[in-house]
């Protein structure tokens, strides 16, 4: 089957974030552009955080997956900041998958509050427990209704 740009996007949608394995890099909004020209692919990606240690692994996974496709001769993966990642770029499916994984999707950064709804009970009266969490993009919150801490993406 000939490889089209659409095929490339669906293959990229299978590459997961190693730190949040339920969500793909497309759902996270990390892929800026995909170009296919006579068997040569160019993918432009942007990290969620500048110091994201997973970007090397993700880049390699993208390289390998795309190079394995029919009629693909060359794959170039470029990391760029020309369209910087923001939490607004996470797709609706991505937000749902984050929640299923137990990480609250980010609130709208312009709303003034940082605290998302509890991913377990849905309550909206949590508080910030620590602005910093297990990865650069996450913070730790506390749900006052179900009385447990939970992780959430912080808006950037």
């Amino acid at each position: 089957m000939p490889t089209t740009e659409q095929t490339l996007w669906s293959v990229l949608d299978e590459v997961k974030d190693p730190e949040i394995p339920s969500i793909s890099i497309v759902e996270l909004g990390m892929v800026n552009r995909v170009q296919l020209d006579d068997g040569c692919v160019r993918v432009e990606m942007t990290p969620t955080f500048v110091g994201c240690p997973a970007i090397g692994m993700i880049r390699q996974a993208v390289q390998e997956r795309l190079a394995a496709l029919d009629e693909i001769r060359e794959v170039e993966v470029v990391v760029t900041m020309d369209q910087p990642w923001t939490t607004d770029r996470i797709t609706p499916e991505g937000r749902e998958k984050l929640r299923e994984f137990g990480i609250a999707p980010p609130v709208d950064g312009r709303s003034g509050s940082l605290v998302p709804d509890c991913p377990y009970c849905g309550a909206d009266n949590g508080e910030v427990h620590n602005l910093f969490g297990p990865t650069a993009c996450r913070a730790i919150f506390y749900c006052k209704r179900c009385r447990q801490p939970f992780e959430g993406m912080k808006p950037v």
Partner: protein
């Protein structure tokens, strides 16, 4: 002057030299502080701060790496060599960032004083004519917002607590003060940086804005203003450093030096 990429910037030696110097200032400030932050791991007053300092250290080192990559694009050595195998006199960080962590109050106060400066510098750089730098600054600034909030909260909390916490904070600020002015030196290419639109704000204006933002925080925390700010005798931006930097680099590069040709 607008420059889209490294190839264009390399056409003019004056432009390139000024840009390279500024990138070393940015990268070295962030790497020194990031390394110092990482030294709190396991020693911070509570587990939340262990997590916070690890995360902040990772951000700062990541920012340094971003600048190192821009330097590499401009013909400097690869990022690992720049970070681990560069002579002390080629480092451009302000001396403030090479100092050891001291006590908790010193670390908190240093971070706040630096982060406010860094925010002013990053804001200026988002208007830089060198596109890769402006793009990175826009992204980095969004991340630094969280550091600012964190350190502002701790600074006022320690100050308002009174007692030993406040006393230590006062001492920390007094100890930091002679080094603070070094932040506002923009090195030997300040004029060229401004003329070429690489950094559209001079050090004096940065200092003015910094004072405007720091004074109310000091008031809120009940910390007296220690007095005039001047550029210190040992100016890191000119490659002048203290033994603190040599010692820090010895520690930081210990593993690298075991086998500089190792592939990671």
């Amino acid at each position: 002057m607008r420059m889209e990429n490294a190839e264009q910037a390399k056409q003019s030696e004056t432009y390139r030299a000024a840009l390279v110097d500024l990138l070393y200032q940015l990268a070295d400030d962030e790497l020194c502080l990031g390394h110092r932050d990482s030294e709190w791991l396991g020693l911070a007053p509570d587990i939340e701060e262990d997590v916070a300092f690890s995360s902040i250290a990772q951000d700062e080192v990541g920012h340094a790496t971003y600048y190192f990559n821009l330097l590499h694009d401009l013909g400097e050595e690869n990022p690992d060599r720049i970070a681990f195998a560069r002579e002390v006199k080629r480092w451009r960080n302000a001396v403030l960032l090479e100092r050891p962590n001291g006590d908790w109050a010193y670390s908190i106060a240093r971070h706040l004083l630096y982060d406010v400066f860094d925010d002013i510098r990053l804001e200026a750089i988002t208007h830089s004519g060198y596109r890769p730098l402006a793009e990175g600054a826009r992204k980095i600034r969004r991340e630094e917002t969280y550091h600012l909030q964190h350190f502002r909260l701790w600074f006022t909390r320690l100050g308002q607590a009174g007692g030993e916490a406040q006393e230590r904070l006062v001492q920390a600020v007094n100890r930091l003060w002679p080094d603070v002015g070094g932040l506002f030196s923009l090195g030997m290419y300040e004029a060229a940086l401004i003329e070429n639109g690489i950094l559209p704000m001079n050090g004096e204006e940065m200092r003015r804005r910094w004072e405007e933002r720091i004074r109310p925080v000091m008031d809120e925390a009940g910390i007296p203003w220690p007095g005039e700010i001047s550029i210190p005798r040992v100016n890191g931006r000119l490659g002048e450093h203290t033994d603190d930097l040599s010692e820090m680099l010895d520690t930081m590069s210990e593993v690298y030096r075991l086998d500089p040709n190792a592939v990671w």
